[in-house]
Structures are given as structure tokens and as C-alpha cells.
Amino acid sequence: MSTLTVQKIGPGASVQDLGRRGWLSQGLSRGGAADRLALLEGAALLEQSPDLAALELSAMGGSFTVDAPTRIALTGAPMRASLDGEPLRWSASHLVKPGQTLALGPATSGVWSYLSVGGGIDTAPILGSRAAHLALGLGPKLETGTELPMGKDKGGPVEQILEVSDRFKGGDIRILPSTHTALFAREDLERFTETTFTRDQRGNRQGVRLNHDGAPFATRDQLGLVSEVIVPGDIQMTGEGTPYILLPECQTTGGYPRIGSVLPVDLPKAAQAAPGAKLRFAFVDRDAALAAHQSEDAQLTALKKAVRPLVRDPAKMRDLLSYQLISGVTAGRPETGDTQ
């Protein structure tokens, strides 16, 4: 079994997959990647199952080495990325060899970045998933020297790219009603959809806080609400009337009013809004939401079709002759003297 070794890592990084279902009624939220689309992108780039686990990195990133040639994919919030100092393209797959150092970070936009590896991170599943649940202390603690086992890679291409739309700077988010939408006064609901919110510094895998100018948002009788099931994407008001977008590690039930719920296809964009990014919310009707909806299977199928080989512009190559233009595995890698 091959190993990915953490040389350096920033706070907030964790092993993530698509999370665990079936425990909601017993108080355990689904968890899993904050940007699920990024995991699907990684799976498409590496031509492997979306159920394999990857590393979720927050803004600071980290650096990594491997003990065997390893296919990797870099997806989610774009980071500065390099292999032994040579810049690597984001939203792309690459080959990392033993002795090389993969350096990721900081992020140039967005919040959550993903390092997927061929064969997936193969830590022991807990309750059916490898996803760390940071609030509960589930999953390995990542620090310098942590060795993460990798599953057997069935093999596939590297130097593949995906063009992805920029979901890393906030923007317009489509919502549907949630548990308590009908309890808000019409003028408050209208004001909510007319307000530009700013993503606060405060945020984690449980949820992110949004700031706005103007009055708080509250419902009538909100102290007497009976607890109801909560799901990621719900927009919940605190007792003070400040909205939070709830993310994968949110509570499973609660009695604070929820004004709306983000469409699943817009949740990656909502989660990837970095502190300071602007967000606006618009209610859409259910038919429009259904038309916009894509199941994760359908998203993965579309992503697989969109994967393209990385074509380098010879004019931008610093030393064309040093590239090995024929080899399969090292295509595009300069064969410099210090490379093994």
C-alpha cells in the first residue's frame, strides 16, 4: 500500500468523502465534503469512483510527498500549486513521484480545496464513511508527519484538465422555502431577497455567518418553535436574527427559524464564498429548481465528458527540448538533472 505523507498542513484540513447517510434520526449529520462538486471533479479527472476519499484543504493548504508514483487531481478553490517548484495547473490531474514535493496554497479564491489521489485516501471508515467530522473529533488528525494510506489505483491518465465555472467568489444563490419560511413577514422575506450579504470571517464546516446592514431577520413566536430536522443548505437565523448558511457538519435538529434552503446545485458556490464575498438570495419556484437540478450521478457523467487533455503551448515552454515528448507517464514533466 502506498502512502501520502503530510509535510506541512494548515488548520482546517481533513479527509473527506461524500459523507454518511442513515444516521440523521440518531443525531449524526451527513458530513462529507463542503464542496461536493469538487470531489466529483476529482473523480472525473482521475476516472475513478466518487465515493473515494480525498483531502479537503482550507485556505492555507499544505505540502505533501508520496512513496510511489501517484496520480493526483487538484479541484475546488484554486490554490497556488507546484511540484518541486514548477507551477501546476489547478482543476487538473498530475503525476507525483517519490522524492518530489507537492506544495499547495494559499488559495487564490474560495475556501475549500481538494487533493484527490488515485485509489483514494484509504483510512478506516467510521460509520460507513471516511469523512472526518471535526466537531465530533472523528477522523485522523492531520499534522506534519501524518502518513495517509492510499488505496490501489486502477490507473488512468494524468495531465487532464477540467474547465470549471468560477464558483469561488460568491454571487447569486437560488433558494427554496425551508421549515419556517412561511412564518416570516412578507416585508422581511422581501428584504431578505433584496439584501446583499457579506460572508463573515466566522465560518467552519458547520456553517458560515453572513453579515448585512439593516434590521435582523426574525419570525413571530420564534422562541416557541418546536425543533425540526435540519439539512445542509438551510439558512438559519440566530436568536439575534443573523443568517448562517448551514454546511455538512450542521446540527441535525433545531428550533431556530430557517428562512430558506439553498438549491443543492448552488450549495458549492455558497460554501466557497470566502470572507468578504457578497451573496444574494433569490427564491425560485419548484419547477425552476427541478429544471436546474442535476443529481450527483448526472453531474459526474457530465464532468467525465468535459475532461480534456492538457495541451501545452510550446511557445510558453521554457525549454522545449528538456521535455520528454513521447513518454506516457511523464508527459509534460521537464526531465531536469535532479529528477529521479
Binding site: 447517510r21 442513515g22 444516521w23 440523521l24 434520526s25 440518531q26 443525531g27 449524526l28 467510521i126 460509520l127 465530533l136 472523528l138 427554496l176 422555502p177 425551508s178 421549515t179 419560511t181 412561511a182 412564518l183 412578507r186 422575506l189 422581501e190 431577497t193 433584496e194 416557541g224 418546536v226 425543533s227 425540526e228 430536522v229 439539512v231 443548505g233 438551510d234 446540527q251 441535525t252 435538529t253 433545531g254 434552503s261 439553498v262 438549491l263 443543492p264 427564491f283 419556484d285 419548484r286 429548481a289 427541478l290 437540478h293 442535476q294 443529481s295 448526472a298
Partner: protein, 252 residues
């Protein structure tokens, strides 16, 4: 922009409320109510038995059942129609509790540091300390819902005189296993954390055991939990035993 009137629809229970694109709540009461809790448990059991393609997960909270579904396979309008049909099938507020529940007996100490607010809670309930402990342990209480932490069950309902308001000031932290009470309910804390409820006892029970492959989360909604009073010394002795001395059996 003007918002559609449908956003403000909120008929009286029983009520279907879409929760985003892929969730549906079936609410039986807007106030905590034992019959509504039983209805939610029974309704969820029925949905599980239906096993429709596109159903992803079901759950219950205090007075609602919840269905998570894949809208590409099970269109929301179809799901609503099916749920309405089942709602109309019978009087769910009079439904029997589902089978496949578990009765737990959990040892608890009500002595000294284990019960810092027992005297306070007993007085508010109009009882002596002895009578309070007797009532707390008198009968199984139902896991009305779980939340706050995996395995943390809200057990109820206790008799009316246990309708204690939460404390104004939070207790900064109670330990895992603490027994706390308010609003006619008991909780065995599944983690350590702050609470506005009064701590009246202590167990060594771990409700969340991620390393246990068979039953990583002890309680499920609808389970019955009865506390058994033991001395502080006995509690520490039982702490070494499997399940910290708790026992469980299937409810038939």
C-alpha cells in the same frame, strides 16, 4: 420583487412542508405533544416500509417525520401525493408505536457531585429529593427525538409537575453521561457541553461509540429508556462493565 403567496402557506397540522428541493417534513403538531411524537414515529415506520425508489433517508424529530429523497427519481409532486394518501389512510395521532424498538435500562447515580441541581429541581417539581429520584426512575421514558450530538436522546414525557423552565444562566459544561432535566424531559448527555437544563444525576453510559461496529449510536427515536438508581460507588464499579452496566432488550 413580489414574492408568490404560496411562500406563506402554512396550514394547520398534519402538514407537508418541503425542506429545500430534496426534503419533506410531515408535521403533526406545532407544539410538543406526545400523540404527535407517536404519530411521527409511526408515520416514518410506514414510509420506511413503503421503500419507494428515490427515498434516501427518513428521520423523526419531536413532532415531525422527515423524508430525504432524490428529486430526479421521485419528483416532489409525486412524493407529496403519496404522502397525502398515507396521511389520509388513518388517524395517525391514534397510531400505535412501531415495533423494532429497544428498551434500555441505564444505571444512574443521584448522589453528591453527580446531582448538583437535584435538590433545586425537586423543589421546583414540588417533591422531596427521594420522591424526585423515585419518579425519575419510575418508568421508561421514550426517546422523543435525538439531536445536539449523536446519540443524545430527549426522553419524555415526564409528568406535568416536571415542566421546569430552563435556567436563565447556562451551566458552562456538564460531562458526558450527565442526566439533565427541563420541560418534562430528561437527557443523558452524549457529549460534554453547556446546558440550560438542571443536572440531577450521572451515568457512565456512552450514547455515541463510533468504534462499536454493531451499535455505534445506542439510542434511536422511539426507544424506551429507564434509569436505575445506584450508589456513586456502584456507578464507578459498573463503569468498567460493558455498556457501563446498561442492559437492553427488544420491545415486542
Amino acid at each position: 420583487m413580489s414574492l408568490p403567496d404560496t411562500l406563506f402557506d402554512r396550514p394547520d397540522p398534519p402538514r407537508l412542508t418541503p425542506l429545500g428541493l430534496d426534503g419533506m417534513l410531515i408535521t403533526f403538531s406545532d407544539r410538543m405533544d406526545d400523540a404527535a411524537n407517536r404519530a411521527a414515529l409511526a408515520f416514518r415506520d410506514r414510509i420506511d416500509a413503503e421503500g419507494w425508489p428515490g427515498l434516501r433517508e427518513t428521520a423523526t424529530s419531536l413532532c415531525s417525520a422527515y423524508v430525504s429523497f432524490d428529486p430526479a427519481t421521485l419528483p416532489p409532486a409525486d412524493l407529496q401525493a403519496r404522502l397525502r394518501e398515507i396521511l389520509a389512510d388513518r388517524d395517525w395521532l391514534a397510531a400505535d408505536l412501531p415495533a423494532n424498538r429497544t428498551l434500555w435500562t441505564v444505571p444512574a447515580s443521584f448522589e453528591g457531585d453527580h446531582a448538583p441541581q437535584l435538590a433545586d429541581a425537586a423543589e421546583l417539581a414540588g417533591l422531596s429529593v427521594e420522591a424526585a429520584v423515585r419518579e425519575i426512575c419510575a418508568r421508561p421514558l421514550r426517546a422523543l427525538a435525538l439531536g445536539y450530538a449523536p446519540g443524545q436522546a430527549y426522553l419524555g414525557q415526564m409528568d406535568d409537575h416536571w415542566d421546569l423552565a430552563r435556567q436563565k444562566d447556562l451551566t458552562p459544561t456538564v460531562k458526558e453521561g450527565a442526566v439533565v432535566t427541563a420541560v418534562r424531559q430528561l437527557i443523558i448527555f452524549a457529549t460534554s457541553g453547556p446546558t440550560g437544563w438542571r443536572q440531577v444525576g450521572m451515568t457512565r453510559f456512552k450514547a455515541f461509540r463510533p468504534d462499536d461496529p454493531d451499535r455505534p449510536i445506542a439510542f434511536a427515536p422511539g426507544d424506551e429508556v429507564q434509569l436505575r438508581a445506584v450508589s456513586a460507588d456502584e456507578l464507578e464499579r459498573l463503569a468498567q462493565e460493558p455498556l457501563a452496566g446498561a442492559t437492553h432488550e427488544a420491545i415486542r
